[in-house]
Amino acid sequence: MTLNLGYFQGIESSTTEWKTLSFDRGRGAIEVAVPVLSETQLKSLCTRVKNMSQTYLKTIPVSDLVNIIDTTISSFLDRTNPYRQQAEDLLPRITGYDPEMIRLGLTSYLKTFRKVELNRFLSEDFSNPKILDEFQPLPKGGLGRAYGPDLLFHIWAGNVPGLPIWSLVSGLLVKAGNIGKVSSAEPLMASLFSKLLAEIDPKLGECIAIVWWEGGQNKWEEVLLKQADLVLAYGNNDTLRQIRNRTPITTRCLTYGHKISFGMISRSALDTGKSWTTAHQAAYDIVRYDQQGCYSPQIFFVEEGGAVSPEQFAQFLARELENFENKFPSRSLTIEEASIVASWRQSEELKAFSEEKRAFLADPNGRWSVSYSETAGEIYPSGLNRTIQVFAVGSLREVPSIVKPYKAFLQTVGIAASPEELIQLASQLGAIGVTRISALEHMTTPEAGWHHDGRFNLLDLVTVTEVERTAETAAEAFSDYVD
């Protein structure tokens, strides 16, 4: 039987059209069905979600919401829970990623949504999260209350499992009604999360809907863009530009484009004892979700002058990538993905034999490749799917000026360096647009409450209503107790 994905209330599922998506990534073929609602159905769904958001969601204290989300997440963390089991079974078949990598990834990701982490998430953006419940005194005087949108429209992209949950949880924490459009590459997790949440709090379930339509079908998108109070879109810049252009001028549209992340390895991390560990950690960041995340490294800058040279480090990295093939075997690629990898490999290979001071190391079956260059000239992305560039630099301090031209695309930097170097590099990197610095091995696992692309992810979703001090003072004159 084909599994029905998507999630919505108030519309008979027999009255909607269902489209079958087929996946065959070498881990067992599978078909799932996604709902294609009619325009009328979409409109009525918008009304319903908005209504529930106003009449129910806006009335629940944020601390209760935290509890409900925490309960949902803890069920998802429980490996005997049927939804969890479904995710563990289906995600590898849909995305092609190694099952063990998915299992570990799910747990470490979901852990960042437990109660204590959610509270941390809130207090990152709101010094007093009760501002989401009722008017609170503001430091400048007067009172303020933050309102989430009645209808937040999420447009998700990509195949990194579970990313939509992050966006949905953000919406719920600010009491937004949510309609999310899942990507064809990973339609599962948003649907499972919503179903599970609805089992725990059915009324909260009515504040969410998960839908699908073929990418580029503007008819449906337009309905939602018109109805939504706020749009949150992920994707490449072309897609985002189109979405933004179609969004009414009075509706805010927040976009998260594709990014480039990289690693920096100081000579202090390259002594004979530590360099293998460093290479292992760097390889892990490459292997995890095959560099599909915006936080995944595409380049490593390695400092000269350590006991292990940058070229040796490139060899260590190659060895570690080979080792990871046992633990987390790479996915089988589609022809399109394989073509990107092949064309990147070919061009790096050609450079290696036409330019000196380069080396190209690769698995003969195309599962990973490392391209080493003694000079860091112009930077460019890797071929993804376990392809990495290693550039030698005289000093890590040169790196910011190398990557500076790409300011708009920079995101995470994984650093292996001493505390002094870390602080110094951080201020240089921050100045050129890097928004997140992590340890190696943690590039792909941002901590709870991180500021995605440097933005206040909850604060960006709300509008604040302020009661100014003059209004408060003036009201005094009309009170019963006025003298």
Binding site: T334, K351, S354, F409
Partner: protein, 359 residues
């Protein structure tokens, strides 16, 4: 073998009507050895793949050079002073590097083109009156397509055949006058040119609701795909409209698949069904491989096309394209350029990066 021997053997091989598989293999290995010895960048490339003429037993294991390599390497066996003609790939943005294919002589290219063109486009006629929708060879001396069409024109075009495109654009008035003349005449007519020129032409004709009834036996040859030059079209739609505007049955609308990096072209037998089956003459062979591993994909599955064109003797005979295809009996289906595919994650991919970085 030296260059002269290679040219002689090749020419003899091409003009024979039929050859055996083992004869192809023998010549392919001789030419591989010639290229390995005389084309040093190719030799280095093969050595990096741990392959030499001694280790290769069949054309299938000759290292295929990615066509991109032509952009950064000079892949040629002859001395630079002996180069008679250089064909260059068309860049899409103008300022990017263009691949170069050098030819010490065009005799083999011409024999290859004429022999296959006769067999596939002109089996029933010696000559035909032609209209060519592409600039002349003089206007585009580095275009292999311009040379190809010049060969068609001079070898198979009857009196009155004409070019209708200059670097300035299409001479529509002249073209329609000629087509109306052909319509009134009962003599078959042939239109040849770049696919995108046909798109512009049908757009124009549809706007003015114009149709031309070309006489029976007329035919159309388009090539090159749309390459962002005009709207990307669905192939079925393209041939349907082409056939409708000129009253040429889809079976007589032939698509030629060729590349600067080859000296031989593939043809289909019309486009009643899209994608059509493409095949080449006996001096070219193709494989469909998985680009990541280089291993041939099972018959019927998608992969990247690799061609071994013996006629391309001065550069590299075996190339890896960026075209997606499916191997079928006696040929392949051409599914178009691997688009560098939309990246699935939120990690920036090369294609998008270049687009943004180049503005």
């Amino acid at each position: 073998m030296n260059e002269k021997q290679v040219i002689d053997s090749l020419t003899k091989f091409i003009i024979r009507h039929k050859t055996r598989e083992d004869e192809f293999d023998t010549l392919a290995l001789q030419i591989f050895e010639y290229q390995f010895n005389n084309n040093l960048p190719y030799q280095r490339f093969c050595r990096q793949r741990e392959t030499t003429p001694k280790t290769v037993q069949s054309w299938k294991s000759i290292p295929a050079v990615p066509i991109n390599a032509y952009k950064s390497l000079t892949l040629s066996c002859c001395r630079p002073e002996d180069i008679k003609r250089t064909f260059m790939t068309s860049g899409t943005t103008g300022d990017e590097l263009r691949g170069k294919c050098h030819h010490p002589t065009l005799s083999v290219y011409d024999t290859s083109m004429i022999t296959a063109f006769k067999a596939r486009f002109m089996p029933d006629l010696k000559t035909i009156r032609m209209g060519i929708l592409f600039p002349t060879e003089n206007e585009m001396p580095n275009s292999s397509l311009a040379h190809y069409l010049a060969l068609a024109y001079s070898n198979f075009g009857s009196d009155g055949s004409q070019y209708f495109i200059t670097t300035e654009g299409v001479c529509l008035e002249k073209l329609f006058a000629e087509l109306e003349r052909a319509e009134k005449n009962s003599e078959p007519y042939a239109l040849l040119g770049a696919s995108y020129s046909f798109v512009h032409l049908i757009d124009q004709m549809e706007k003015s609701n114009q149709t031309i009834q070309l006489p029976k036996g007329s035919r159309i040859l388009d090539t090159g795909g749309f390459k962002g030059q005009s709207r990307e079209l669905d192939l079925d739609d393209f041939y349907e409209r082409l056939s409708e505007r000129f009253s040429v049955p889809r079976a007589s609308c032939v698509n030629m698949y060729g590349m600067t990096e080859l000296s031989t072209q593939f043809y289909d037998n019309g486009n009643q069904i899209c994608p059509s089956k493409k095949s080449g003459p006996h001096w070219i062979r193709s494989q469909v491989i998985n680009p990541a591993t280089g291993i041939p994909t099972p018959k019927g599955e998608r992969g990247i096309l690799v061609h071994c064109d013996l006629a391309h003797f001065n550069c590299v005979a075996t190339i890896q394209t960026e075209d997606i295809g499916i191997e079928i009996d006696n040929g392949f289906l051409l599914l178009g350029r691997a688009k560098g595919a939309e990246a699935k994650g939120c990690s920036m991919a090369v294609a998008e990066f270049l687009k943004i970085a180049q503005g």
